[in-house]
Subunit: 311 residues, 2 copies
């Protein structure tokens, strides 16, 4: 039951020699989501041994180049590899007109079929769902239209205890209602409480990705109780004036948002190229929100399954 | 008097975890030319400490993505850095329609002014010249229209010997004609031969860049006696059938072209992603043309100045 976030790029707009522009891969129950696709993402996928054919969903937060210039190269390579797939691209509507000329110029048959899904910048919206998980986009606050993304498991039913099914000879027809919370009444009239018949379900896990945003309290309404919150910290606190000017966040902003959302863990990234040493980011953020980690290239963060509903 | 070629990327279309798509920087007498601009070129420029503001001329051989997908990111970054410059882009004419939508989408004032110069795929053509150097484009033989580039110094005049000027009291008015080859006749009627009055000029140096081409003998007419020939070797000899199918070259093709052009040194690159070990490329090519080197990322090759015209 994997829930893994792999960091491919942690830097802001200007590249450095050792940090890449934004990209992350989320693997939730074998469904792979690529979050943003800065230049060089395909090489980072190779370096992290993530097969290109696994990527079926690409989520682009906004159309600053450091978040989407790697998209055409990735699609082109998937095509050269002969990967036959629908490729769902959730992004600002303008993206199609920006990369379609380059897609049209690729000679020969396209094996990849890009399907564009425009984002809504007015309110949170479910953009993907299947039986087990869902993805929500929600507006954040940047110099151009930008969305964050919440990726989470759907609530699960309780697991029925096989030993109890045997002990009480529970008929198959009753199992569905017990999973939904019903007690069981034996032919003799004994009431066996539901708690005794089931293991509590696994808690639904969740990950939120908020890049390129100023401190924006409405985010917290959408991503309450998230297991891991990724929040940008382009600047340290002593250069808050740059953050304000460019609609970005500081360490303290990210920490405050982690508190406001009641996050378990905070990941910080999107560092300005002016910083070579990232330790001060860790220090400043941990002073307010101790369970903070730096989203470094090549690191994978795992959210483990636990039984019992999270309060 | 620098003439340096720095390799930023040596790989063919599919990226590997340790090799980048094609890009090279040529510094000839302080004029910087970027040859091709695959994805990730801007990060490679950073890694090799080549300032973005030095790049005024970008030459794009053809419009397969691994040769131009890094262009938009580089221009965007130059713009973010506030570099004010004309940026001359010599490329197939279609490039403008491919990247103009993305250029138009960059908000705010563009400090970089891209000027597009369409390439000629019918015959060799001078695409740049100043007092000291020139750049020639010439068609090669690939699956789509592709050019190679020849970058060279213009022939120089002989250097006059200051000791002779003093010894014979040569008037300033005579110096120009002596530089052009004239003897000097003293007031007493003695003829001092030109050879005695001058040092031979530095030999004009030259570099040719031939990527993405099958073996194509007409190339040799344009790049005769080149100091360094870069010629692609996408495949080893035992996979010649792939080279033929995809309009690429093998080791033996590159070596044969080095002989045909009477090159001093051969650089090989554009290796297929199927090869992890490049030593067999070196071995196979050197068996035919011993002075061969592999164009590895981060390597700089220098062409030194020598006096005397090269035969």
């Amino acid at each position: 039951m994997p829930f893994e976030i792999t960091i491919l790029g942690s830097n802001s707009a200007l590249p450095t020699s050792d940090r890449n522009p934004t990209a992350q891969v989320v693997n939730l129950l074998g469904r792979f989501f690529l979050l943003d696709c800065g230049e060089g993402t395909q090489i980072q996928l190779r370096r992290n041994k993530i097969g290109f054919s696994k990527i079926k969903h690409i989520l682009i937060s906004h159309l600053h180049g450091d978040h989407y210039y790697g998209l055409i190269g990735l699609i082109s390579t998937m095509n050269l590899l002969g990967i036959k797939t629908d490729l769902h691209i959730y992004a600002p509507s303008e993206i199609k007109s920006l990369i379609q000329p380059q897609l049209d110029f690729i000679k020969g048959e396209m094996t990849v079929n890009p399907i564009f899904h425009p984002l809504d910048f007015k309110k949170p919206r479910q953009i993907f769902a299947d039986k087990k998980i869902e993805v929500i986009s929600f507006p954040v606050k940047h110099s151009i239209s930008t969305c964050g993304f919440l990726i989470r498991e759907l609530p699960r039913e309780a697991n029925i205890r096989r030993d109890m099914v045997e002990a009480y000879k529970i008929p198959v027809a009753k199992i569905k209602e017990i999973k939904s919370g019903a007690d069981f009444i034996t032919p003799e009239g004994e009431v066996v409480p539901n708690k005794q018949l089931t293991w509590p379900p696994y808690k639904p896990r969740s990950y939120a990705f908020c890049t390129d945003t100023a401190f924006h309290p409405p985010i917290a309404e959408t991503v309450q109780n998230v297991d891991i919150l990724y929040h940008e910290t382009t600047f340290l606190e002593d250069t808050r004036e740059f953050a304000t000017k460019t609609w970005h966040s500081t360490t303290t902003d990210a920490a405050a948002m982690a508190k406001l959302t009641n996050a378990r863990k905070l990941l910080i990234g999107h560092f300005s190229a002016r910083y070579h040493n990232l330790i001060p980011f860790e220090k400043e953020t941990r002073a307010v929100f101790p369970n903070t980690e730096i989203a470094r290239e090549g690191k994978t963060f795992t959210i483990l399954s636990e039984r019992g509903n999270r309060e």
